[in-house]
Chain length 479, copies 4
């Protein structure tokens, strides 16, 4: 099969019919027509189409070492800096198609699967785990599967040192039984973005100091597995009009709560159970995070460039660049973009092979990027608001332009060098990224994209090699 | 008549039927039932009811010197610091009823009318202007009229030194003719919040360096005046459910573009035309801004307290105050609240009477407040997002709780000391103020509440007396 | 005796001859002539002169209820808001004489002694403590004594949960023995500012969770007590020229390490020993911190005004206020000043009497101020650097103006409306507050003036009443 | 001759005897023994020694294409990315020897001379300019000359649109006459760092909108040229003790005002006079700024690493990394370091050859770096102050340790794992970089290293290509 196009993706999804609940209703009809989902599904399908388009095929796919078919570049195991560059460029090509707004474009979790699957030796020697992860990787690559995933566990209490009481029904999904067929999972996970909108759901264990055996497991199952439910939050795709909600109507990905109501996971899909050492290695030794960050930072760089484009077009449209503070604000975006781009490039420049011969992007600059972006993104949204000002509030709808008051709007709202409808369309875009409910969710999402910023800081502190820095000081003091 | 209750307010509004357009449609039926307006109208009506409630009547009204009836405190001409205190407390009582989220509660523009009406001498000696503003003040006070207003003019180009070409159809509303009956106004104004939802529309001139005669005018006319149109932006009251959208369903005020399609303004309603000196004095000598700021800062202080309440309840619900950085963030809100409150109190402590015997709150601390709040509010929203985290994304709807998956939600989303529905209700509130489209518009609105922050800074620089500060330096240097 | 003048202060100091070490030398001669101390001593003497000057006498002193003599206002027990106002104005008069740069002007610790002495009942019933603190207060007031003090204990390790090993020689000063005559103290305290430059040294206990008996004590002893040593840091009074170092030459206060080499403290000077309950009450029930903060914030407000004066004079001298960003920066200082002033005034407006009838300034706004100032001050120094730019680096000395190259400097460095020497003098002032070693120490000092900012935040979080804020939210949600 | 060692550098300097004034005195004796200069001269001499040391010789020098001698790498014309890498590494090797604190290490201006000299064609065709710049480059390279330079002109008034009145004696140095021998220059320039401490002084023209002919000139002359005076500011090398002032005693570079008292510049040293087109091209077409920035950012990256080392050693010494906020602050330094390093590396990764075949580092990321560093450096100093706290104030001197109170200090100030003298030495280092007069000057210097931050922002706005960013937006909107 190899890399697929959009209709193949949508076709599989329609067939599967996972159990998805929204607004108190279970989705029963064609999900591709549902107001809450048609935007994101259409946009994802376009990504699949793009990878097969003649001008992108070379970049976006490569020849499978197994089947000889062309498969998606996000599955490529990088053996050289050129491979990393190819992975980056492919990720950015998809990101460009969505202004970097699709946090869970297929390459995100594909990359994770690649990271684990090409380090299958970590899991090996333990029953069938090694072959399970390898086969997951190959299945994903050869069939161009897409994955959603979920890390976050529900907690009634987020204080330090809180533990779930074991006497009760589980909250956080855990293994409540094992059978000869597999694991039985009961409980919930929070925040599976695009939950139910992908072929499979990958469930990965949470790291932490005090984890019980029953929470240590990893597997991937079809979204349509029996007793698996996805409960959606309110949809922010309030309007299907691309004019009114240029982003919400296209890229509202949806976040879901995942309920495992005694879900059975066959042994051949399990690649971790109870083994703490493998748990530790699967995140560290596999370079899982370095690879995910490489894709993430590639996307965030494109997003920053997209935001720069919006800002500059606002400035052009109302001709405000005679104000020094306007130039300063746009410069700040440029600097932010250069920083993200450079941190990304440096991760490749300082990449090094691991023991498996895989080329690992340097995590130092990538962690710096992921620590920078949450604040940067929030500041960029602030800048858009400061530049857009009341223009972000004066946003009549497409329907108004088509009505009796259309001529009024055309006259009174025209731009310096464009008509009113174009100008308002641009301001609606700025509004939708910075100020709408869709935009608000994006801001929160980027703030926590790789976890709590406080924890990221701590991680950087704990993991960073700084002997050389200290040696500079000793050299001076002992001079 | 005197101070009215909510049903009187709504009754007048239904009768009047101003020309309001939304989503390509003119509103024809009962506006109080319209999805986009029923929330705000119900909330405003509740404010009017509150002022007549036995426990608030003393504070919220006073005896009219003209009619002897009890009239609204926002019309009170302050002659002492006690009067200022009464005005502040009344403003805050209304603000508390809406968490400070109604930027255009009736007392806002009532205060402006009071400021101008009690300084009618500025307009006197010029035809009938003095009596026009006086009668506007008295009419407003005795009938408890509500006003919307509009300052902002449309511009195709906001660059320095741009002027509208006079050969074309006017963009910015201007006097295109005068007749024996009055002025004829043609053109548009932007951003009348609650445009059409009040008894009258006050139109005030813009200050600036290069204003033409035809733009210098001031008057108030009924919202239902012929040829006057209000064109709404998209409504952010996406849901009428108080549970789903606790704020948007109640306080979405709506912003409008105002089109004057050759509107005739009778001379007796005009209190300024062409006179540049009166234009200058109407803003400066009347203490117009000081009084508006006193009401505004009173509201913003309450809003800050409301946000503090939300933040603390988030913290309590998920028990995160064992984290030092959480305490630090909540402390930051407390400090912000104390700053806003103190700047407000200091404006009264340092108030001084003007030549008319009116007690004028000190503008120094009020300008400091209005310069501080845009940044503070944005930071408070950021803090709510940082505290709420994924909880602002995991927001199933009221309908979900009532459905088959309700038991799942009740189980998996419960809080430390409250049930899931209460917890999600609280997170929805935090979401609606910080992250929803309603919240986004609030953030933009507060950023520009008293105009462009850059211009406010310049105004402070230009207007502040700092000889004493320099003298401190000379004293030292010459010591 | 009552309030004294400068020569009385200096006379007492010369007589006393405490053991002070600086730069490896013990001071033996006349300390008033010592390069490191003559600046600060002269400046302090000037404060004492000022309080007796005819135009300030009424404000700066009051009639002692005990002796009928006029005594210093910093000793005044406030019984009304007018008393608080008098205390504030007196504190600010002294602050103005030093641009707010003397952190330990005599009124600081006098205020602390007043707070404790007028709440002597806290200490009563415990041996002679009540009368000890009362007599300290009266002795201080009637003789216009000045005090330095010290809170900070040395630690080899500042990590959480570190405790000193008891087997060794004590590091932190503690009671190593009690005799019939009094306590024997051994160990050190850090950071007594102006250590040895005052009549007495007040030693107060540190609060904390795990304090041993031997660390719970409080007393005041003469600076010249036997076996008491003050070890100075490097002096930042590098030049005695008021032109070259306008601030360092006048206000370098010096910080010292205090070594107690088995110092005997007579019982009649002890007002606390071992009693944990009294320890707790002495800080809380006495309103010790509220009073200290009232003096501190009064000083910091003046300092902010002084900085505003410097900034504006820089701007005037080189005529840079045609730049919008320059106006913005100066506005930021104005806003900062208004905030500090308003928080101070609000503490009086919201003051309330305690059970003793003392009028206590509200700590809410004062804590907000002390949480704000460390960041504000640092930002003000940044603004001075940004405004001053290379002018803070091009600073030839007084000696250059008097030399053969004087004419060059006079020609090439002249200001817009002033001669070169005046201009450079002003830039030297800006340099000395923002960029010199003296200024650097001031910045660090203000950052930690009332302790670690993180701990202040925690204190605000823990101590602030916010039920009303939560009630605002409940009112809305239950509406 | 080729690359020299330290004694050659010092020898030339002693011989030359330029006219340097400090503190009202002209330096007459051996400048290497002068308190204000011996530190920096010794440190510079060490750099020259280092380049000839066997382990660095390969990196720090290369074979001159002219003479075949080994000459300094800072003179290397880069023809490949490898050459850029070599230049970077050499710059960083020198930077490491001074913790990045020597802003004007010889490679800075050598790089500028290389940029101009290898683009001599810009100057060619105009009398002898082409050969003048070429010969300057070759003279510098072959003799390992060092250069100071000066851009800044004195102004009595920095307001927009201020021009010097031509009737008076010139302030800004200008050509007052030309003779057959050369130009006669009269007037001053400000802020030649290390003025008089180098072989030659390069004088470059200022760019701007309204420049007169008489200000358009460029040349290099010996520091000891007749009628050329250097007037120093106050020296911040207050102590020669490396213990007391670890940085000031080594790296105080000194800044000078340069007075041209009718200095004659021979024609053969002039490479620009009056030609506006060449003026424009000399900065743009030569990639002058890109090359300077490449050296500068290389240095600033090392400086950031050095600061990281100091911060970590503070943390280690007092064991405060159990505090989360401490980890967060150190992480912030790490992130800042990664950003600077990545921007530097990206400039090489995105380098491209110019028409002369010189490999030009990309200015995009370098301008982002120079826009970032002023704020970053200031924040790093703030972090050091917040980590160091009172430890930056408790700084007894070396002399104290050697005195009678030494045992007290040894006991009371010891660190967790080091003795008191080592600990205080480390805190003194942190103080000297962040809080001393030397440190203050460094902070101001970095704030303005490449000019006014506001102007840098404007430059970035004006020069940045952002069509691709806009195209991303159009692609979406037109989708």
């Amino acid at each position: 099969m190899g890399a697929i196009d959009g209709s193949a993706y949508l076709g599989r999804l329609r067939e599967r019919q996972p159990e998805i609940w929204i607004n108190g209703q279970r989705i029963t009809g064609n999900i591709c027509e549902h107001q809450a989902f048609k935007g994101i599904l259409t946009s994802k399908a376009a990504l699949y189409d793009l990878q097969l388009a003649p001008e992108f095929r070379e970049l976006m796919t490569y020849v499978s070492p197994l089947s000889g078919r062309r498969v998606g570049t996000s599955y490529l195991e990088p053996r050289s800096k050129e491979d990393l560059e190819k992975r980056r460029k492919a990720a950015q090509e998809w990101a460009k198609a969505s202004g970097g707004l699709m946090g869970r474009s297929p390459d995100y979790m594909n990359t994770g699967i690649m990271a684990l699957g090409t380090a299958w030796d970590i899991f090996d020697g333990n029953e069938s785990w090694g072959s399970a992860i390898k086969s997951l990787y190959e299945r994903g690559r050869e069939n161009d599967l897409s994955f959603s995933h979920t890390f976050v566990t529900p907690q009634v209490n987020r204080s330090l040192g809180y533990f779930e009481n074991n006497g009760e029904e589980p909250l956080a999904a855990k293994v409540i039984k094992t059978t000869s067929d597999g694991l039985i999972i009961k409980g919930a996970r929070l925040l599976a973005t695009q939950g139910g909108l992908t072929d499979e759901l990958v469930v990965l264990p949470v790291m932490g100091n005090f984890i019980e055996d029953s929470s240590v497991y990893a597997f991937s199952i079809p979204s349509s597995t029996k007793n698996l439910k996805f409960i959606c939050r309110e949809s922010f795709s309030y309007s299907s009009s691309h004019y009114n909600h240029p982003l919400g109507s296209r890229f509202e990905e949806m976040d879901t709560i995942v309920v495992f109501d005694s879900v059975e996971v066959p042994w051949e899909r399990v690649f971790l159970h109870k083994d703490m050492e493998v748990l530790f290695n699967m995140y560290n030794d596999s370079s899982f995070y370095s690879f995910l960050l490489h894709q993430t930072v590639a996307r965030q760089a494109v997003k920053t460039e997209f935001i720069l484009g919006i800002a500059q077009l606002l400035v052009d449209t109302i001709q405000i660049d005679s104000y020094q503070h306007v130039k300063e604000k746009v410069s700040e975006i440029i600097v932010g973009y250069e920083i993200m781009k450079s941190l990304l490039l440096a991760s490749e420049m300082e990449a090094a092979p691991d023991s498996r011969g895989r080329m690992i992007p340097s995590s130092n600059s990538l962690y710096a990027a992921i620590s920078t972006y949450p604040k940067l993104h929030a500041r960029l949204m602030e800048i858009l608001q400061l530049l857009g000002a009341s223009g972000l509030i004066t946003i009549p709808a497409e329907e108004d332009f088509d009505s009796e008051v259309g001529p009024d709007l055309n006259h009174y709202l025209k731009g310096t060098d464009c008509d009113a409808k174009t100008k308002i369309g641009l301001f609606r875009l700025a509004w939708d990224i910075s100020t709408s409910a869709f935009g608000g969710r994006q801001t929160v999402y980027e703030r926590f994209f790789f976890g709590d910023p406080v924890r990221i800081s701590t991680g950087i502190y704990n993991g960073y090699e700084r002997q050389e820095a200290k040696d500079l000081v000793f050299r001076l003091l002992n001079d």
